[in-house]
Amino acid sequence: MKSVYFDHAATTPVDRRVLERMLPFFCEVYGNPSEIHKQGREARAAVDAARAQVAAAIGAGAKEIVFTAGGTEADNLALFGYLQRFEPGHFIIGATEHPAVMEAARALNRLGWAVDFIPVDEFGTIDLDGYEKAFRDDTRLASVMFANNVVGTIQPVAELARIAHEKGAVFHTDAVQAVGSVPVDVQALGVDMLTISGHKLYGPKGIGALYAKRGTRLTPIIHGGGHERRLRSGTENVPGIVGMGAALEIAVAEMPETKPRLERMRDRMAAAVLDSVPDVKYLGHPTERLPGNVSFTVRYIEGESMLLQLDTHGYMVSSGSACASGSLEPSHVILALGLGAEEAHGSLRVSLGRENTDEEIDGFVEVFPPIVEKLRQMSPLYVKG
């Protein structure tokens, strides 16, 4: 049976070219970059080179990049690391943030910080007016994600950063889904902090980075030997760092080709699904969305069961359904768009990646309608119109 991976928003395969560049750093150049002998110096040089690659990919300086173990840790470092320098006050996040920001915010809230969650409209775009009004005198930080992981909506980040600065707060954006997929330039955006994750851009898992603009003072959340300019202790994950640098370099270099191709495939797939299955709603913004994100909700049936049926046909996708996520709550992102819980349960996310082909989309569009029909036949909520 063919096997089609349509879940690139969850994670991506490591690009073989990236793996090639990582390989020497397991068994040959295995030194600890803190050591000054030959092995150590070679490892240090590799880390420095990767840091320069990551910095270049987002228009930052090498000293503005802090490597972490992933996007989640980078998000936590941004929020805790920045806010914990102050007495508890107020900060702002978007209503559709990833749990990495959402739960960090909740934990800060338990420590005495007030937090406002800014609503989004039906397309997932942040309510600019509500955002602007939420700032208070003691608002230290606003964090709004660059692009949503469930519905793909891209936020007006530059505008959000500008407003935060006007209000005297710093601005962080979780750009885990964006970096490598769409152009990201920290200078042009004017953000103070920005989160990246390796495994979302054809790099390895277990590596991420926080861009922290020169002058943005942070306290560490992991203490120890003082690595990463004292901001994140722990022996550097050298192959991971090398892989992330290489992956970003490749992603940015190939973006002029990849981005329009994925956008075309995305729009074609969305149109085909909406065309061939009744009672389907497209989720997220019609145009301001990630190149590979096709998200929709199917009435009367539940996400996990669609997902499993698709899986038995070889198509791997994801769902914002409560069942699929292992939690019992339907996706807070989909609820934030104004959909009901029942609809939220029926959501499906197809996230295309650069190895996907038009044939794979054709295949999906062929198998999907009968799956929906089969599940609807089984559903007590479905009364054929």
Binding site: E302, L308, Q309, T312, S321, C323, A324, L328, E342, L381
Partner: protein
């Protein structure tokens, strides 16, 4: 995460559908929780002569529904009433921990169908005796 048997029941569910003019119908769950199961039965001589289900829900919800219909066919009402959600999960070779609560309610739906039959056929007095542990409606919505 799912056993092969769960996946088999999910992919090839047994006894899907609705019995027209069923002797008893039981439904549990609600769409907000993400699981709705409806089981309809025909009863002959105090035995389950036919049983069908419709389910909105995840793989576990579908598989437990399918399994319970298989387990119950031909059984007496009392035997059917003794089948627990836990027994259904066990018959499937187990369910992931996070599916044990909300998605494992097919036996409850069955019990509600039996209750419905007893009430409809004027045997309301026997409900408590046959159905020792009747599910509270939406008991899982508190999770």
């Amino acid at each position: 995460m799912y056993t092969d048997l769960v996946m088999d029941h999910f992919s090839n569910p047994r006894n899907v559908g609705e019995i027209e003019d069923a002797d008893g119908v039981g439904q549990i769950g609600n769409p907000v929780c993400g699981d709705v199961m409806r089981i309809s039965i025909d009863v002959e001589d105090d035995h389950i002569a036919d049983v069908k289900f419709k389910t909105f829900g995840c793989g576990a919800a579908v598989a437990t529904s399918s399994m319970v219909t298989e387990m119950v066919k031909g059984k007496t009402l009392e035997e059917a009433a003794d089948i627990s959600n836990k027994a259904v999960a066990e018959a499937l070779g187990g369910l992931p921990a996070n599916k044990m609560h909300c998605s494992n309610l097919a036996a409850d739906a069955l019990h509600l169908a039996i209750q419905d039959y007893l009430v409809k056929s004027g045997r309301e007095g026997e409900v408590e005796q046959i159905l020792k542990a009747l599910p509270k409606e939406h008991e899982h919505s508190s999770h």
